[in-house]
Symmetry: C2
Amino acid sequence: MAKQKRTAINPRRDEDYPGWYQEVVKAADMAENSDVRGCMVIKPWGYAIWENIQKNLDIMFKDTGHVNAYFPLFIPKSFFEKEAEHVEGFAKECAVVTHTRLEDDGKGGLKPAGKLTEELIVRPTSETIIGASFSKWINSYRDLPLLINQWANVVRWEMRTRLFLRTTEFLWQEGHTAHETKKDALEETFKMLNVYAEFAEKFLAMPVIMGEKTESERFPGALSTFSIEAMMQDKKALQSGTSHFLGLNFAKASNIKFQNKDGKEEFAWTTSWGVSTRLIGALIMAHSDDDGLVLPPKIAPSHIVMVPIYRTEEERAKVMTFIDEFISKLKKLRYNEEKIRYQIDDRDMRGGEKLWDWIKKGVPIRLEIGPRDIENNSVFMGRRDKDAKDKTGMKADDFVNSLTKILDEIQQNIFDKALKFRNENTINIDDKDDFYKFFTPNDKSNPEIHGGFAMGHWCGNSECEEKIKDDLKVTIRCIPINEKEETGKCISCGKESKRRVVFAKAY
Amino acid sequence: MAKQKRTAINPRRDEDYPGWYQEVVKAADMAENSDVRGCMVIKPWGYAIWENIQKNLDIMFKDTGHVNAYFPLFIPKSFFEKEAEHVEGFAKECAVVTHTRLEDDGKGGLKPAGKLTEELIVRPTSETIIGASFSKWINSYRDLPLLINQWANVVRWEMRTRLFLRTTEFLWQEGHTAHETKKDALEETFKMLNVYAEFAEKFLAMPVIMGEKTESERFPGALSTFSIEAMMQDKKALQSGTSHFLGLNFAKASNIKFQNKDGKEEFAWTTSWGVSTRLIGALIMAHSDDDGLVLPPKIAPSHIVMVPIYRTEEERAKVMTFIDEFISKLKKLRYNEEKIRYQIDDRDMRGGEKLWDWIKKGVPIRLEIGPRDIENNSVFMGRRDKDAKDKTGMKADDFVNSLTKILDEIQQNIFDKALKFRNENTINIDDKDDFYKFFTPNDKSNPEIHGGFAMGHWCGNSECEEKIKDDLKVTIRCIPINEKEETGKCISCGKESKRRVVFAKAY
């Protein structure tokens, strides 16, 4: 067996993928578990990524006519009960507020007091509480479409949690819109699905498949749910954003009516759509390597880290002066319409150790700047999309002049690599045996390893879907919307099928 | 009696100030009460103001070295109990989560189930939960200072609520920092107080007094609390931001220790500081008039609204083409390093009605653009800092060239007006009778009216403070930090005093 290269992250991806994931999060100092079961602390490096996600998505939402608002954290139990499927979907995992103060328990501690007459649910999603506002705000067709988004925290009492991927409390945005016609609402549903796909590909450098969910994976109360699905490096799928066509279900539950152009009263057609801090989990698993996090420049908290190299105070003074001048040039640049984000790591520790810290944190460009570099007016560059040892000396001015091009190149390389990986691990399968073999791990010591995405035919019957899930833990991730119809035979029962769907193991 | 001018807001400020406030919020469509007692819905216009507050404050926080992070919404009861004064201060008004799901109650409804072994408190403030993280993150003096900020929602179960001013759930930021020395922590406390004062004055155009709170108004658990205090148009004070020096109290409660340069273990000195959506209430009450909201340009959701005026479709087409060209010029401008924010109101309703809508919403500049204007290549401008009828025709290019100057002028006028009002209603008082008269309303039909801020001497005794509060509902808002020492006699007991303090009625 060939000697393994030493890696900054242990275990490696091929040794223990879930263990690797945890270590990447830890090594990049992104988040940690808190003392509240299932709730995470998002540390500054992780939160800065979320801020960049928010900022860029928010621009896209506003460019498509949406405005932000804020609705109560608490939902009265009775609101929650209005839509039968909805409450069924969320009642099993919600935080319930029953009291409004604490008082002396007579034993030196405190006990809940001020019992509420009606319990409040900490929002797991806000269709019902926002619906109550919509029913007041909407009177006439002139009030439509109503296009609202909320950035908020939500709580779902998950039993098994994993940082970013599944936590009891998470941060997200939830869009809620109301429309005059079914057509308008469907258009909105697809528009936002497209916004998510564009964001995932352009900003997170993560190729995604857009498609419709089967009935069993639909949002509770929706008529149809669409999602973007991305392939992680363990070849599993991760649902990274959803857009729901709610039909008239929530309008009826919340009494959202309007007077149409003919003066008649109608229910409004509604949609909702969301992405969450789960995107950060997706980002980590799509791009990171055995040396740690790899960040696409567009959402990296820092584009560049500068590590001054010196031995004496005199050298330090010279290097820092050079860096100051260098920064004044960087400040004039714009990347993705924003300022260049940089930091200087002047901590009192070895240069190599510092550089590895930034590799693990995924910063796209590392610059080492020492006395010899400044003599030549040059910088020494390492790129996170290349091998850690593959570094280049460049004239400082050349670097500045080509910086936005370099960042674009890194962004593109990261995307291309992920796309290549997905393509290499996605195949059309028509034979049932092949299908079962594809999803059966051949390495017993690593039971998570399997083939990837199988594009297989499905007859549309939920029993076939169920059987595959029971046999293989494989689900239909989505029915892709950009694929052509094609006749074939259901991979499970052999009956006629009109199109291929994406089968995969999933998070 | 002179005939009253018709106003867009009824009641007027001088008729019924609290009623006027409610109407301004409603007419500007900023927020409304929700079905959850005490929780408000922040509507898009109100939320957009909050977004501008966030964006600009966040830049100031980052410029002073802080980074954002996110901590759990829930605080275990035992954490909450760690600091005695702290729990005392918040236990009486907190939302308590006791269950983690809902289940069938056998009567067609749902009842709480999955009882928690330890209750969770919805954060009213996060010192204790953030302290738990700090105690893990801080090991050595090298980890200090730790400068963290969080943007979040918090819940305090208030009995009497008013939109923006006092609500059960509100949005805020809370800074939490830890330092090696008492001096460093005190410096941070003052630095952030100054950031708040600068923000209030430069962005909200609201003059404030910086000062220290007396013991009775201190944050529960703090060694000292500082605040910025602004005068509202009913001459009451509104505390608009606070910065707390926590000493070692929370470090001891959460075990936040570090190894100092000599290798010895020490507790860290901590601070916390916050502003909330209450700032929007302050903004409304500081500047709005009897025609509605008045927004300083730097935080206005729109700088300009354009109202196209036309009778025929042909005229409309010409006007809209003109507006398109006009906008392409606006897009090149920057105000306060941001793009010009504008909107076009092409709704199907009368021009006058539209203009009044935007007056009530407080947009700094209204432009009417009709066929005659475009013939002259001009626009017709109304400014929110001037009388609604006082409009000016201007060449379109002149408008574009002078726009940033006009916005600066509006910003300055709004500030100057508020400062003049505060100065006119702030006086030094040395005589006890005068003091009592100053705070006694002379108009019995309007019991809220009184003199304003009284700068009076105080001996430092809490009994004197208490007596004045009981007699007049007047409190010491703060002990100003920028005033010189001056010997005098306590306004209540006549004993020696070293400096004047701000006495006022307060929100």
